[in-house]
Symmetry: C2
Subunit: 530 residues, 2 copies
């Protein structure tokens, strides 16, 4: 018997088995799985009543909120495709995505009304604009907001036996740290198997309590929307990452796990009042989205009192590919364990990872040879939306080419050394910006750092460190350069250190090196220093 | 990207990620995953060299042994279908299965040579007979045994990308407690998804140590052959269930989990020397294959010092359908918890369970209304081998009809009340033999019991209890009947108690009620007693 693989089975299962469990905590609101599933079904019915047809794209411009989580299932109940939008994008970028995807409906939070006003005439395929969180404010919108929309609807539960598991379920535009956003097509099968694969790989317990620190518009919410639902667990939502609110919610809801990008983890472990909160429920923090490092793992374990591991993945892979838990056969003291837990880790079940050279041959698994990470597995996307040539290019040879450079060791753990485009080529030598950042991060005065390439007339490019210091700290340029020289080959050391108040970031907290490079390319006149 | 779902991915993953982990412990032999996967690949190559073609059935007549575990993967490397045979069957029964399946090769242990001698001329499709564990003894066999066969072979690793996930991987004949054996067809997809579903549902940890108490020729080895492999864990094999050896192995190998049928659990908790062994590594024992009961759960938890849960499934469902862990929302004291853990439990992820009346409508989930268990999910077989009418009958309405009668409570836990054919109909009232057995089991002198129907001229049928006492115990017929009368409605109480030294069982330890009924039907003259 073949039962189609679809994320709708996650919510069916939770509603059947755990109807009275708390499904969602969002501000002052709490919903059981019975209520949550009913709301998702009503969203499905409402979309159908609005004329949404199978395969239509339904866009959401929303911070992390129960409504966006409902959309993860409700849009699929209507046989439509969920298109979550990054709330940090500008109107022109959003318009590009809405037009590229030919989205039919746009749900949005009131705070984004000015954005939507600015783009609405530029997105002719969008027929309905619906406010998520307040009554309509302008006369060009539907007369209802989301809650009214649901209240009037008939619940629609799609027959899972009739789902085509290879049909499109979600369309996620990549965060665009490197190029124009591309629509990543994730199928029902991708997402359901990701839930099962990552549940096993990340050892998700039954009925866990998870804090959604990672925006659900980013990389499929790291799959947690589905995994936690399948486990009958509680989703604790935060609209915005404010350390004091995060710590308060962990205490109040007895949160057991969360995912963090490094900048979030850095913010939490440096938050002055962190010890005032009872964080004893926390079992595990997972760091991903950008490279972790041993110092950060140690600080999270010490300051938050829980295990800290890392993982690696991409929007194109649903997203989780690897996890850095320590295999039983590996003997490691505490420092070695934390160092290993800061790696990207090894492939979860259902996923194969290789590190290959330009000809597609495996580089030696010696922890030193650099190659590109390629992946194969249940979680790999169907392709890019209406970009067959680009899809074929990244899928060449039957493996998805991530564009990330890494080394693999004999235990099959990978360490990402750089995005292919962030690598610094200095005098013919490759310099991993991440390797230099890891050294600078060990300085106690440093809050965060990004190392980028700047032009140089002799070496072509040289590294430059953009550094944010912790409050009240004084650190000099020469001090950080000396620190690097004590640990790294000379050619890897930054030629310049610039101190900034803040680093430019994507909506999901990734540092925008592209931005840093762009503005600094002009400033740096070629010179012969060092 | 669609990567075919096949159990071969379990061994590929383990070989890649855990090459040096101990995969198998079998007597004095130990194999790492590198060795285990190499042997499986050699088996694949050897079969191909022997002329085995894709889809051919390859039969194994073997107790639990590393070779049978290798066959779980090696036969699939050759694109063939694994057919494990129950070693307790008679020659005529085995011949029936070999002919029905048109098996091409029969591997067998030396101890079964007389059986094979007796059937070999009756199974014309079998072209090769290969000894598993010793050099050939007779002149009609191939000149090699299994190990020689492997040593000479070229490893063959099937390209998983070319597997048809809906093709047949295993053919298991049902144990035949009720009718002629039928060949249950399990596909690659069934088995791989069962590994993932049950890993999550049973909360399998990374790299666990599992004792294979359940024969691998029974109900797909309860799926553990695949689940434990995917987790990179250690398979500890026992050829035969001898309590002292089981306890010794748990101590020596630091076993963390095992599955037991109730008769095995009863034997372990009553074994006089059980306290001489260090069983502290045991985390969880799972009881299945026949109904558990609260007394047994309590005794296992007390005597073996680990959690004891139950599960339910059938050969037709790969096999696990349910598990009886206690949901977080259920408040229970210790006795209630143990009672709940003795239930069949609730559906694992990937599975839907309903309890229905004869028209296919759900009976009330009130813990009292009896109906037939029907199931839908990834784990449900493709159908019965060459029995389209019977396949269609059990799959009617898109749900697999188990033939088991159960009640479901408001928390979606089911309790099996009887096989449809084991129910006793006395004076128009249905009597669950399991319910009566549970009462008799509470008597401290009782080792095990089977309640069956015997003919009665007034009531049609009445219950009779066939009881085995613990060594040195004296219990009278009237004492047990009085015990039942103190707990049960009068019509449910046995009219007769027969004391036996042993109960007839299948090769897998299930009590053969059919046998008990057959011999007693003649003995019991209709009478007007009671």
């Amino acid at each position: 018997m073949n039962v189609p693989l679809t994320p709708l089975r996650c919510i069916r299962y939770a509603e059947e088995q755990f109807p009275q469990n708390t499904a969602v905590v969002c501000g002052d609101q709490r919903f059981t799985y019975k209520q949550f599933a009913d709301r998702a079904a009503r969203l499905g019915g409402a979309l159908r009543a609005l004329g949404v047809e199978p395969g239509d794209r339904v866009a959401f411009l929303s911070t992390n909120c129960h409504r966006l989580l409902e959309a993860y299932f409700g849009v699929l109940e209507a046989s439509a495709v969920l298109l979550p939008l990054n709330v940090r994008l500008a109107a022109a970028e959003l318009a590009y995505i809405l037009n590229d995807s030919k989205a039919r409906i746009l749900f949005f939070e009131r705070q984004f009304l000015p954005l939507v006003e600015a783009l609405r005439l530029a997105v002719p395929t969008v027929r309905s604009f619906i406010l998520l969180d307040a009554p309509p404010q302008t006369n060009w919108m539907e007369s209802q907001n989301y809650d009214g929309f649901l209240a009037d609807a008939h619940p629609l539960r799609r027959d899972v036996m009739k789902v085509d598991e290879n049909s499109l379920a979600e369309l996620f535009y990549t965060s665009g740290t490197s190029a124009n956003p591309k629509g990543v097509m994730l199928t029902h099968r991708n997402i359901y198997l990701h839930a099962l694969d990552s549940a096993f790989g990340l050892q998700i317990s039954q009925e866990p309590v998870e804090l959604h620190t990672i925006p659900l518009f980013h990389a499929n919410g790291w799959g947690k929307a589905h995994t936690i639902t399948l486990a009958g667990g509680t989703h604790v939502m935060i609209h915005q990452f404010i350390p004091s609110e995060v710590l308060q919610l962990i205490e109040r809801e007895r949160v057991e796990g969360c995912c963090l990008v490094p900048t979030m983890a850095i913010a939490l472990v440096n938050w002055p009042d962190r010890h005032k909160y009872n964080l004893s429920s926390l079992r595990r923090v997972m760091i991903g989205g950008a490279a972790s490092n041993p110092v950060l793992v140690r600080e999270v374990e010490r300051e938050l009192g829980c295990q800290c591991i890392s993982g690696y993945g991409l929007t194109e892979t649903s997203p989780v590919l690897t996890v850095s838990t320590v295999k039983a056969g590996i003997e490691a003291d505490e420092a070695e364990r934390q160092a290993r837990q800061s790696m990207a880790g090894y492939a979860i079940p259902g996923v194969e990872i290789r590190v290959v050279d330009e000809d597609g041959n495996d580089v030696p698994a010696d922890g030193e040879s650099v190659g590109e990470v390629v992946a194969r597995g249940d979680v790999v996307m169907e392709g890019y939306w209406r970009q067959p040539a680009e899809s074929e290019r990244v899928m060449r040879g039957g493996w998805f080419h991530t564009g990330d450079l890494a080394v693999m060791d004999t235990d099959c753990y990978i360490v990402i050394v750089d995005r292919a485009k962030d690598i610094i080529v200095s005098g013919g030598e490759n310099v991993s910006s991440l390797e230099v950042e890891k050294v600078i991060t060990t300085h106690p005065g440093v809050y965060e750092v990004a190392v980028i390439a700047v032009p140089h007339d002799k070496w072509g490019e040289v590294p430059k460190a953009c550094v944010v210091l912790k409050p009240g700290q004084t650190v000099t340029e020469i001090e950080l350069i000396d620190l690097c020289r004590s640990c790294l080959a000379r050619y890897k050391c930054p030629h310049y250190v610039e101190f900034l108040d803040i680093l430019p970031k994507t909506g999901t907290g990734k540092i925008l090196k592209r931005e840093l490079r762009k503005t600094r390319e002009r400033e740096h006149q070629p010179t012969r220093t060092a």
